[in-house]
Amino acid sequence: MARREAPEINAGSMADIAFLLLIFFLVTTTMDVDGGLTRKLPPPIEDEMEDPPEVKQRNVFQVLVNSNNDLLVEGDVMLVSNLREAAKEFIIGDPTFQDEAMPEGKLTEVPILGQMMVSKQIVSLQNDRGTSYEMYIKVQNELVAAYNEVRDEYAQRQFGKTMKQLEKEAEVSKTAELQEDAVKDVYPQRISEAEPKNIGDQ
């Protein structure tokens, strides 16, 4: 018995339809990778909170930005391009913790490395209400970069790996995770933003 073959549907316009859709998605797609500087805000202040503990001047790296976008670092005017080096120098500090101008050390328990002296460094950032957002991001970026570079150098010296490598390996290896934590404990990222001063509330 010969079966009657069904007539084939012409698929010639398939490509046209697909092209049409393709062009639509090509036009509407936005390839922006959403990224930025991730920060953690301090928890809200409660009214009955006791005075914050005094922090010694030598432990604080003071960064001020005024409404003209001028940068004042530890009392000296500075360009943004020099901020990273200055911050790095401060974060690393003096390895013996004897230098009066550099931050003090504090005996801390660090994973893998055991008890060691860790710098009590804090970076304090204060800006004016009139500071431009672009300048603020530049300063934030340089401070984060300073921490990242210091950590990278330390991780390279101690474990022979960059922080990125450690981070990647931490997903599968417990040692890498501990190593990553150790580096973060030796150079904790402390960027403190001053409580904004409200002059003339609107």
Binding site: A11, M14, A15, A18, F19, L21, L22, F25, L26, T28, T29, T30, M31, V33, D34, G35, G36, L37, T38, R39, K40, L41, P42, P43, P44, L79, V80, S81, N127, D128, R129, G130, T131, S132, Y133, E134, Y136, I137, K138, Q140, N141, E142, V144, A145, N148, P196
Partner: protein, 158 residues
């Protein structure tokens, strides 16, 4: 002699275009999967600044956006040129931030609320005053994980 001599019928056979739809479909699916439809229409001008130390935002469903900038040209007649906050599709004031955070939390799986991130998309020409206000409101609402949306660059210039 003529360059445009008619080819003999016994020349090269035509290349089959039967696989063309397949190729196009492949591209189509790629773009369909990667495309992100913009869910809000921007009423403020936002050109984010550039930075080098970028963390990628993962889990798009856990990210909520707050836009700050001056109103776009078409709306400047009505709203002026002072920096404004935009939440969802409308202009807002800083007092609307806390309800917005609450609403976003309602829409999220309770187990994932601590992982929620608020991404601040702020125009680079904005002043810090309004940004600081927003940050203070977010602190009050206990939304502490934030992200300053920035573009990527290799070097910061003065």
């Amino acid at each position: 002699m003529s360059k445009f001599r008619k080819k003999k019928s016994g020349g090269q056979p035509a290349i089959s275009t039967a696989s063309l739809p397949d190729i196009v479909f492949m591209l189509l699916f790629f773009f369909m999967v990667t495309t992100v439809m913009r869910e809000v229409t921007l009423k403020v001008k936002v050109v984010t600044p550039k930075a080098t130390e970028i963390n990628k935002l993962e889990r798009k469903s856990l990210v909520s956006y707050i836009y700050i900038g001056e109103p776009i040209k078409a709306l400047q007649g009505q709203f002026g040129t002072a920096d404004r906050i935009q939440l969802n599709d409308a202009f807002a004031t800083k007092r609307d931030i806390i309800p917005y955070v609450e609403a976003e939390r309602e829409n999220t799986n309770p187990a994932e609320v601590p992982m929620m991130t608020f991404s601040l998309k702020v125009d680079k020409e904005s002043e810090m005053g309004i940004v600081t206000d927003v940050k203070q409101e977010l602190r009050q609402a206990n939304a502490l994980k934030i992200n300053y949306s920035t573009g990527k660059t290799d070097k910061i210039v003065d």
